[in-house]
Symmetry: C2
Subunit: 355 residues, 2 copies
């Protein structure tokens, strides 16, 4: 297999790079006035996700402002439950609503396995349009929510603070939850493989709600589903390059070793873990992505630079570091703070080169 030339792909595969690459979770989003402008044009968030031309435009916006090393597909994790037949809407100021919630074997039977080419064809069209317009300047990352995270929305019927329904199901009807997770493993695997066929060059699985599970519950109900997806992905991209897989589970620093054993190439860290210690814990099995607290972007450009350098130094001059925030960027972040961060990472140098 040929070695990729892009800094981001090289770092994911722990190949030497001139400096660590940087991209930012939710880099195309509400903190950018030009994004808000396009979103107004689109009418609402979901229409924006489903419009390949506009979704491409917002995907590329942060790359025009900042020297980021990767683009990430603009979409939403909940397009999968929608493609399975649930009604998806976003109330103003509230979270998403999925209707009707999955609460019985009958509800589960009523879900269909989506055909990504057809039911999620607008995502595939967006992927192709982005790749075309990117013209190989930087790689494109595809993504999906994890089965557990998708299941929380599908069983709760939307966002939740207590996860009462999905955790009630986990304890009282674990076979029903397992059935739903099985369906999601299949759907997410097919969805990510389709994204790869259409041109994404890396994929990230977001387990936003893995951290609300008990220790062994995370391993059984979230990580195991992600592991099965990783095993089912076609890691040979159509261009002959290997497609790296990134797992990100918020609040799961204590599961780092287990995640590194899932078969993924990169584990994403939130900011509660020291990245230098994390590097020792994974012992070269995977690359690490992260891990600046998004809230550091509320501080001054000087502090942002110092914090970025602290993280780069803590990881050290080893291959396998993808710089990122430890969670999505906040909607009230000022864009010039992002510029300061990107410049800090771009300007960072070990002097002597990588070990």
């Amino acid at each position: 297999m040929p070695e990729p030339s892009h800094r981001f792909l090289r770092a994911c595969l722990r190949l030497p790079v001139d400096r660590p690459p940087i991209w930012i979770m939710r880099q195309a989003g509400r903190y950018l006035p030009e994004y808000m402008e396009v979103r107004r044009q689109a009418g609402d968030f979901l229409s924006l996700c489903k419009n390949p031309a506009l979704a491409t435009r917002v995907t590329l916006q942060p790359l025009e402002r900042f020297g980021l090393d990767a683009a990430i597909l603009f979409s939403d994790i909940l397009v999968i439950p929608e493609a399975m037949g649930m009604n998806l809407s976003f109330g103003t100021g509230e979270g998403p609503i999925l209707d009707p919630p999955v609460q019985s074997p009958l509800d589960l039977q009523g879900l269909r396995q989506p055909d990504p080419e057809k039911d999620l064809g607008y995502v595939m069209a967006t992927v192709e349009t982005i790749r075309e317009q990117l013209a190989d300047r930087v790689p494109l990352i595809g993504f999906s929510g994890s089965p557990w995270t998708l299941a929380t929305y599908m069983v709760e019927g939307g966002s939740s603070k207590t996860f009462s329904r999905v955790k009630g199901m986990l304890h009282d009807r674990p076979e029903l939850l397992r059935g739903l997770l099985d369906r999601l493993v299949e759907a997410v695997t097919a969805y990510l493989n389709a994204q790869i066929r259409h041109g994404v060059q890396a994929v990230q699985i977001f387990d936003t709600w893995g951290g609300v599970l008990g220790h062994d519950e995370f391993l059984e109900f979230s990580l195991e589903s992600m592991r099965r997806i990783v095993q089912g992905l076609d890691r040979n991209g159509p261009d002959g390059n290997r497609v790296p897989v990134i797992l990100f589970a918020k609040g799961c620093g204590h599961h780092l070793e287990a995640m590194a054993g899932s078969g993924c190439d990169v584990v994403g860290l939130d900011w509660t873990t020291r990245i230098g210690q994390a590097r020792e814990r994974v012992a070269g099995r995977v690359a690490l992505q992260g891990n600046m607290d998004p809230a550091v972007l509320y501080a001054s450009p000087e502090r942002i630079r110092a914090e970025a350098e602290r993280i780069l130094t803590d990881y050290g001059p080893h291959p396998g570091h993808v710089f990122n925030l430890g969670h999505g960027i906040a909607p009230d972040c000022e864009p010039h703070k992002v510029a300061a961060l990107v410049e800090a990472v771009q300007g960072f140098s070990w002097g002597g080169g990588q070990a």
Copy 2:
């Protein structure tokens, strides 16, 4: 110093007990209809906190229903900022509001150091009334918020999702935040010592928001403040018994060893840590409290019992386990589920006694 006879105090000090004691964070609260009745009488939440007769009544309510092994003072962590001169109110359906937020050295200077006997006299009166009515059936736990957790509310002016102001302050004006934390260390130490003088037999420090800090930030800005409080407490109660100190920081399982080194007697765990592994990690330095996911109470009584027994078995037949949830009980919990949990812990037996 005499050995205490109460099961809860003995477990805190890692003395042998017939079975692990159980109490429940937020055991006096909205899930109990009789609590809602008294709260309606009181008019609002803060009036209830400030009425020693009614606060005593709700403190004792869960003990009348369930065979719990400790009572916990009914109050709120934000009475401290109020006693320092901030305006405290609770909007309906929203979180607390503290006005005006602390954002400058001048704001900090404007805060007064409360005299707990005078400014928080209603808490001391409540402590005395509870002790009187408890008549030594079970011990009474006092509590306070941690300096970091209190600072988040004082700087944000209430609850926050992003902690933008307090984290901005941490990075850009760390000396201002340190000044506020110093004031809070002094205030909380005096407050807890007053609670001890008036009769609480153990104290818990709640660091609800410690888990939102970066790894080293937690050690520097939260744990260090708690350590100073622990060092400043008068651990010899007026009855001659030692007053155990419990530290609880949500989402901080990765800081377990550091917390165990703070001088506290007990560390509270949320449910993301295996309690058996945690016991090995603290190696007899402290007792452990926890750690059932409050969401297990949405499951059936059979599952609740099984989960309680799993946790008791995981800790094993060693001294030093205080059974509790890993976070406060949810307002929509059904009381008969709590009964099932308490009965499971009460009925648990090692057969052969404790190691």
